[in-house]
Amino acid sequence: MISDTAFWALTICLGIGTFLIRFSFLGLFGGRTLPDWALLHLKYVGVAVFPALVTPLVLWPEATGGVTDPVRVIAALAAFVIGMRVSVVGAIVAGMGTLYALQFLLG
């Protein structure tokens, strides 16, 4: 059971903290021109953050208690290949579809 005090303290601080993280650079550097070296690195934020977020989730899923599940690895690869070749919707459908199909086939 989560106490009311703990919940509200956490939620309000998390809300404020998360906002400050999101606002950080937009708030401080808005309207200014960033130096070239910064712009060069910032181009790669997306391709740097997302794979780093995904890889551990695919290799050690919480749903299996952290044990590598070949079905999930295959489904993730399917989503990636379709995402590169076809589209975003294709990637989502291929990923979840492969997962369900393999889980069904393998019982």
Partner: protein, 237 residues
């Protein structure tokens, strides 16, 4: 293109991600109710924080009776990546007024960030007003779904069958976000370094492995780009 058209363009470009946001936010509503939160508490969390992964983290730690301070730090660490989004958005929408920037910061979510930045890079001639309008188009699609479906999940309050493996919708979503961003050799290198480094540094506490891996990957991408640029003139001669 008028700002109105740019807004709707963003709205439509973000539409595929409702496929993920809907089940994920329903799941949050259900899990929060299971953890003993009432509907007001569940909704307050989704509205104040709008960051799914950190909400799940905070909730799980509170349930394990972790001290509030620890739960807070762990959840904030999960959101630290958004400082990088904030920086990456400065060249595109940093010109907006302070109040607008604050609103844009509040609405900043992964899906919309990825979609917006890709669109800006594909359309370098886009006007600043249209960039802001496009950004709001993206966010206006995702955020109402996030609130609304949290509420649906909280009202349903029933466990979603584990057989649906909804947990896997999260990595699938991020894979779908990544694929269109990989458009040149430096992008490939950055993504590969990110994946590899996230495994190597997965043992770091506070989700710091993600931050370290992302910073290394950004450096790898930037260095690869510089390296390829330096080589080009030589190839000609």
């Amino acid at each position: 293109m008028t700002p109105r058209a740019a807004f709707w363009r963003g709205y439509i470009d973000c539409a595929p991600f409702t496929l993920i946001v809907i089940p994920y936010s329903i799941l949050f509503g259900v899990v929060a109710r299971d953890a003993g939160l009432d509907i007001l508490q569940t909704m307050s969390m989704s509205v104040l924080v709008i960051a799914g992964a950190s909400q799940f983290t905070a909730l799980a730690l509170l349930q394990d009776q972790a001290p509030v301070f620890i739960a807070l730090l762990a959840a904030l660490a999960v959101n630290l990546r958004m400082a990088m989004y904030s920086a990456a958005l400065v060249p595109h929408i940093g010109h907006a007024r302070l109040g607008t920037r604050a609103l844009m910061a509040y609405l900043m979510v992964d899906q919309a960030f990825a979609v917006a930045v890709k669109h800006y890079e594909d359309n370098p001639l886009m006007s600043q007003t249209n960039k802001v309008a496009y950004y709001f188009g993206c966010m206006m699609l995702i955020c109402p779904f996030w609130y609304g479906c949290t509420l649906i999940g909280a009202l349903l309050g029933q466990a979603i069958p584990p057989a649906l493996s909804l947990d896997f919708a999260v990595p699938i979503c991020f894979i779908a976000l990544t694929a269109p961003l990989i458009r040149s050799l430096p992008h490939v290198i950055a993504a590969a370094v990110a994946a590899l480094a996230s495994v190597v540094f997965s043992g770091l506490p506070w989700s710091l492995g993600l931050i370290v891996a992302a910073l290394l990957a950004m450096m790898a991408g930037a260095q690869a780009e510089l390296f390829l640029k330096r080589r080009k003139p030589k190839d000609v001669t």
